[in-house]
């Protein structure tokens, strides 16, 4: 119970500081918007091409945006050594990760939901018929990205070349998520949309496995 109550308190702090500064949401939204617009102008894809390649483009943009967002996740805790204050206050350090993973997932999901309509208009891909399934894929994909990214952010924040290290570690690790999310999304963009359950199952298992690893190793990731 202490774990959940601490995680809830910390999630409140994460949301409050972000909605006060709007640093992460603004950066990631603008970044994804630029990628979507640039690709649209560069390739001028037909509706058929968008259905085939749009999902990959969308998830690549989300992934790069996530690596920007996750960079500052633990770096912000180092400015005034607030991570030490948190470690002195919570009995289970997993509460810190749980709050950060939830906050990052929410921020990513919000960015994705804001930009899906823009993508639909610019690439002429109807997203409304399978919107509820798209939301599910976005949630599972964002959760996976956030779990792995938050863990790696904790590691890279203590390293010397931290700005370079996170993308180098994160992008290869998230390749399975990228592939699965892209395949499920591409199936939902099809002229006859369908749910690729194998991909959805893979995303759910990936999320569960990485959350378990984070729960087991979280304590060591925030140690000095």
């Amino acid at each position: 119970m202490a774990l959940l109550s601490n995680a809830t308190v910390l999630l409140g702090k994460e949301l409050r500081t972000e909605f006060r500064s709007r640093e992460l949401l603004t950066t990631t939204t603008v970044f994804v918007l630029i990628v979507i617009v640039l690709f649209s102008f560069s390739f001028d894809p037909t509706s058929e091409e968008s259905r085939r390649f749009g999902a990959g483009l969308l998830w690549l943009a989300f992934l790069f945006a996530a690596s920007l967002m996750l960079q500052s996740c633990f770096l912000r805790e180092q400015n005034s050594d607030t991570l030490s204050a948190l470690r002195l206050s919570v009995s289970d350090p997993f509460a810190i990760f749980l709050a950060k993973v939830t906050a990052n997932t929410l921020f990513l999901l919000l960015t994705e939901l804001l930009l899906l309509p823009v993508f639909a208009v610019m690439y002429n891909v109807p997203v409304l018929p399978s919107l509820h399934w798209l939301v599910l894929v976005c949630f599972l994909g964002s959760l996976g990205v956030s779990i792995a990214g938050t863990a790696l952010s904790a590691i890279s924040a203590q390293a010397r070349m931290r700005e370079l290290l996170l993308p180098l570690l994160l992008l290869p690790l998230l390749t399975p998520i990228l592939v699965a999310s892209t395949e499920v999304t591409a199936a939902l963009f099809d002229r006859s949309p369908y749910v690729q359950w194998k991909g959805v199952g893979f995303l759910a298992v990936f999320d569960l496995a990485f959350l378990t690893i984070l729960w087991l190793l979280g304590e060591y990731l925030v140690e000095e």
């Binding site: 202490a2 109550s5 409050r16 005034s80 050594d81 204050a85 948190l86 470690r87 002195l88 009995s91």
Partner: protein
């Protein structure tokens, strides 16, 4: 200061070694700190003062040896150390107000009536009128006051201070010394690392000098005590 409800607690360091790669930050440090002592650690930069205090706060795990908190000679249990920690870094969030910071840490520590406790501490550190201001708008001295309030939220029996007056102006340093005097007189055990802080160092009842991670002087009275404190103030 509000009436204290803590139980007097001592600290025992047993054969503490701390290595970073091949470099020794601490070498076989063994110390018994009695409840209520006010200990000043002196030493050059890199002598191991900060590492020892962070080990006492359970923020750093020693490579070997152990640290235990003693309540009337018996080891205390619990997952969190009964210590409040104040360092040069303020350990509070710049994007939150003074009150939000205290409420956050009070709730995390499971303190009953967090709002009342936060208000009482803000009054004690003289920031009640600025309770709704963001910490990033505060001066260095005001931030350090918030840091002290945060450290005292759970009525800690042990207070750990790592060069706490660095960057404070003379007025701020004087206020800090007075606060520390109250804490010492209330029976708390205080461990502090010093670096040129004369007013604060006069409150010490024991002076320990570290050099290259080892204890080279440990004294309570006499000329040696004064010479160790003079080293801290150099």
């Amino acid at each position: 200061m509000t009436p204290s409800v803590f139980s007097p607690t001592g600290i025992r360091f047993e054969n503490i070694d701390k290595r970073y790669g091949g470099l020794y930050a601490l070498r076989r440090v063994s110390l018994d700190i009695s409840a209520g002592e006010c200990v000043a650690f002196a030493g050059r930069n890199g002598s191991g003062k900060t590492t020892l205090l962070r080990i006492a706060a359970c923020l750093v795990r020693p490579s070997s040896g152990s640290v235990s908190f003693l309540d009337r000679g018996k080891e205390r249990g619990g997952t969190l150390p009964p210590a409040g920690f104040v360092a040069h870094a303020t350990m509070v969030y710049d994007e939150l107000t003074a009150e939000e910071n205290l409420l956050l840490f009070a709730r995390l520590q499971g303190i009953a009536e967090p709002a009342a406790r936060a208000e009482a501490l803000l009054r004690e550190v003289g920031l009640l009128e600025r309770r709704s201001s963001l910490v990033r708008t505060f001066s260095r001295g005001m931030r350090q006051r918030v840091a002290i309030a945060r450290a005292l939220l759970n009525e800690p029996a042990v207070v750990l201070l790592d060069e706490p007056t660095t960057g404070l102006d003379p007025q701020g340093a004087h206020w800090f010394a007075e606060t520390l005097r109250h804490l010492r007189d209330s029976g708390r055990t205080i461990l502090m690392s010093l670096h040129g802080e004369s007013e604060v160092s006069t409150l010490a009842t024991r002076a320990i000098q570290l050099d290259a991670g080892a204890v080279v002087a440990d004294t309570r009275t006499g000329a040696n005590f004064r010479s160790v404190l003079a080293f801290a103030n150099a």
